[in-house]
């Protein structure tokens, strides 16, 4: 019974993900524009959050990652930290690219 409830919850997320996949990029394009680098950034990390998040959720639900085990807990933290690292790296990169003057047009 518990397993059935668990599966129902899992499939219930599918329509939400499909709706997100359709509306999220359109929201970005309408508000920021398709040529804005932050649009590409948010597209990548918006879908990336679902991608990585579903992996972590699956690992926890299946018992493949048990947070009571020290090594599993360590790697669970590292996955989240790695995600944040790349998100920060790309964010700072875009900021620097836009904020430092370009001399080639002089």
């Amino acid at each position: 019974m518990d397993q059935k409830i668990s599966q129902m919850k899992w499939w219930a997320a599918v329509p939400l993900v499909v709706a997100f996949a359709f509306f999220f990029p359109r929201l970005l394009i309408n508000t920021l524009g398709a040529d804005n680098p932050w649009t590409s950034y948010l597209y990548l990390y918006g879908f990336g959050t679902i991608y990585t998040g579903s992996g972590l959720l699956l690992a926890l639900k299946s018992g493949a990652c048990k947070l009571a085990r020290p090594k599993d807990r360590f790697w669970f933290t590292m996955v989240i930290a790695g995600f944040c690292y790349f998100a920060a790296l790309h964010g700072v990169w875009i900021y620097l690219a836009l904020s430092i003057p370009y001399l080639g047009g002089q």
Binding site: D35, G63, R69, F83, G104
Partner: protein
């Protein structure tokens, strides 16, 4: 073949050729040395699963950079700037699936190849369907790498591919054939260092020519400084397409399906060390590699812009003109090293290193599939280790020959190199990566669904080469490009078609028996660990390494078992029967002299003693007079 725009004098050609030939000869001899570490096919293909994480991780540097990488990404860097790094910096999303799913599954189930996984998870039909697709993928890469280096040699030195490709293939085929995976790992480690040094020299020369880092950045157009391109303007290179084609399909293919990378992870001593290697690969190796292969393009763009501002060539340098952007790497390097043939020869040797280090891995991987999935199950199921080792060497030779012959086919293709590459890969991989994913992460997914989805998914994806417009609705839904060839969205289309077929076939057919998939899906990893330990209870308690151990020989101890003092067992937090990794204490060997054994406690032993039989000692390639380290695996 058109010239690359380099006017090389005969003296320069000679100097470049000497450096390049010397390099190839040294690598071949170095790789051949490791033949002595292959006593059976497990050693030949998986190096006895003995290495520390850093050795395969460092060797992946060279494996991940092909001969086409410098040429292709420098071109991309010149055309679109630092967004050329996109394909290297979007792999992290896959991490939880690999760390907690695929890596433990293949390690604890002792999977040797993806086709073998398909047989154990599904059935024989699934095994051979997957084998066909995987071989197509790997032979494509071998042929493509040889083809690109052939083109580069032809363009630079006017050497016809008819001569350059077979000669290069013969050299690298030689050391793979004799040295196996250990040779591949150690030569790739060496070649990775070579790639970074050569790339570093080329980058330094370029930045120096520009007048420093600030000048380079200041003359780089803003559009070229950004890490992303337009979301969906260019169907051949867009942020949306790259996410679905590369971060999703491409990353799964490289990490889950590429037999070469899979085997590299299987040479590592434990799952935890495998995670470290993967972590290092994505966090360090890929970002640095992205810079190494793309930076010459960014420098080339900045250089051209600065030339336009100053009204001619930079002081002390020839005027740089890039008419065919595919030659960006060669042209910019040649100009910024001031036509020095010895330094340029070193850079050309790096191109060869990139070629050799990618293809040696693929040859070894194809040979592994040939032995484990074709020869052993179908031709000769029962034979001695010596026989299989001999067969493995023949398989390496045959693979090299087939890859070389494929260059003829690549020469008949009319498309650009970039398009040939992505069209090929994005057509081959979608069906199989989806099937692997569903097989590993969805227990109910069964053999009927796996076979149907792989066959139909592949056929539908291939059909989009002639009917690309069917991809348009998928691309539109995800706000991708709405016109064009949909190179990356072809992969997403293929994955969705395969997933839908797999889902519906699973729903209308009965599920597999739980027992059949035990240890082969993410939900059954605890059982996989028990099976790995031959029925023993996994021990997850954290212990420490027992260091400075001295080996004593006791022939009464069974092979693959050791005895330790109770205190050493306590240090390891180990129980009798736990799997222990024992190795030579010299860390820089990376586990070359080591073994997985089981341990029992013996109160008669001193704290610094480890007792084992002569056979165990020899199988670990240990040497007398060197201290040992023990650590508990599980």
């Amino acid at each position: 073949m058109e010239s690359m725009g380099l006017e090389l004098e005969s003296g320069s050609v000679m100097a470049i050729a000497i450096v390049a030939i010397l390099y190839v000869a040294v690598i071949t001899a170095f790789g051949g040395y490791f033949a002595r570490f292959n006593s059976n096919i497990n050693d030949f293909f998986y190096s006895g699963n003995r290495f520390s994480w850093w050795l395969p991780a460092a060797s992946m540097v060279a494996t991940g950079i092909g001969s086409y990488s410098y040429l292709k990404y420098s071109e991309q860097g010149y055309n679109t700037g630092m967004s050329s790094t996109m394909t290297y910096l979007n792999d992290w999303f896959l991490a939880p699936f690999f760390f907690f799913g695929w890596l433990p599954i293949i390690y604890f189930a002792r999977i040797k190849s993806v086709p073998e996984y398909f047989e154990r998870r599904f059935n024989s039909a699934a095994r051979y369907i997957s084998l066909t697709i995987i071989l197509a993928y790997m032979f494509f890469y071998i042929g493509y790498n040889l083809y690109t280096i052939g083109i580069a040699m032809e363009g630079m030195f006017k050497v016809p591919q008819l001569y350059s490709v077979p000669i290069l293939a013969a050299f690298l085929g030689a050391y793979v054939t004799f040295g196996g995976q250990t040779a591949v790992i150690f030569t790739d480690l060496f070649q990775g260092i070579m790639l970074y040094i050569a790339g570093g020299i080329a980058i330094f020369a370029g930045i120096y020519a520009l007048g420093g880092f600030d000048e380079w950045w200041s003359f780089l157009p803003v559009s070229h400084r950004l890490p992303f391109v337009h979301l969906n303007a260019d169907p051949k290179f867009s942020s949306a397409g790259l996410f679905w084609g590369e971060a999703l399909a491409g990353s799964i293919a490289f990490t889950f399906m590429n037999q070469g990378f899979l085997m590299r992870y299987l040479t590592i001593k434990s799952v935890n060390e495998g995670r470290k290697a993967a972590f290092f690969n994505v966090m360090v190796t890929l970002p640095v590699s992205a810079i190494i292969v793309g930076a010459i393009g960014w420098i080339g763009k900045s250089l051209v812009m600065k030339q336009a501002v100053v009204g001619g060539a930079l002081a002390g340098y020839d005027f740089v003109q890039i008419e065919n952007t595919f030659h960006t790497f060669i042209i910019v390097c040649w100009a910024t090293v001031k036509q020095n043939p010895w330094i340029f020869g070193f850079v050309v040797a790096a191109l060869m290193a990139a070629l050799m280090s990618t293809i040696d891995t693929l040859i070894n991987a194809c040979a592994a599939i040939g032995i484990y999935d074709l020869y052993k199950p179908l031709v000769k199921p029962e034979a001695t280790d010596e026989h299989y080792l001999k067969a493995a060497r023949w398989a390496s030779i045959i693979t090299t020959v087939i890859g070389t012959l494929l260059v003829i086919w690549f020469n008949t293709q009319k498309d650009s190199l970039m398009n040939i590459h992505y069209k090929g890969i994005m057509t081959i991989i979608p069906a199989i990566v989806t099937t692997i994913f569903m097989g590993a992460f969805w227990k109910r997914f069964n053999s009927y669904a796996a076979c149907t989805s792989m066959v139909v998914g592949s056929l539908v994806t291939i059909s989009t080469v002639w009917y690309p417009y069917v991809i348009a609705p998928v691309s539109w839904f995800f706000s991708g490009p709405e016109v064009g060839e949909f190179i990356y969205f072809r992969a997403l289309f293929g994955m969705l078609v395969t997933a839908v077929i797999g889902f519906f076939v699973t729903m209308v057919t009965s599920g597999e028996n739980d027992k059949d998939v035990t240890g082969l899906t993410i939900g059954t990893l605890d059982e996989a660990m028990i099976s790995y330990k031959d029925g023993g209870v996994p021990n997850h308690a954290l212990g420490q390494k027992a260091k400075n151990l001295v080996a004593t020989i006791d022939e009464n101890i069974p092979t693959h078992w050791i005895q330790l003092s109770p205190q050493a067992m306590e240090t390891l937090a180990a129980n009798d029967g736990d799997v222990i990794y024992i190795s030579d204490s010299r860390w820089w060997l990376g586990g070359l002299r080591s073994h997985h054994v089981k341990a029992t406690s013996n109160s008669k032993l001193a704290n610094s003693e480890v007792a084992m039989s002569t056979k165990t000692f020899e199988e670990a390639y240990m040497l007398s007079g060197y201290s040992l380290i023990a650590e508990k695996i599980i």
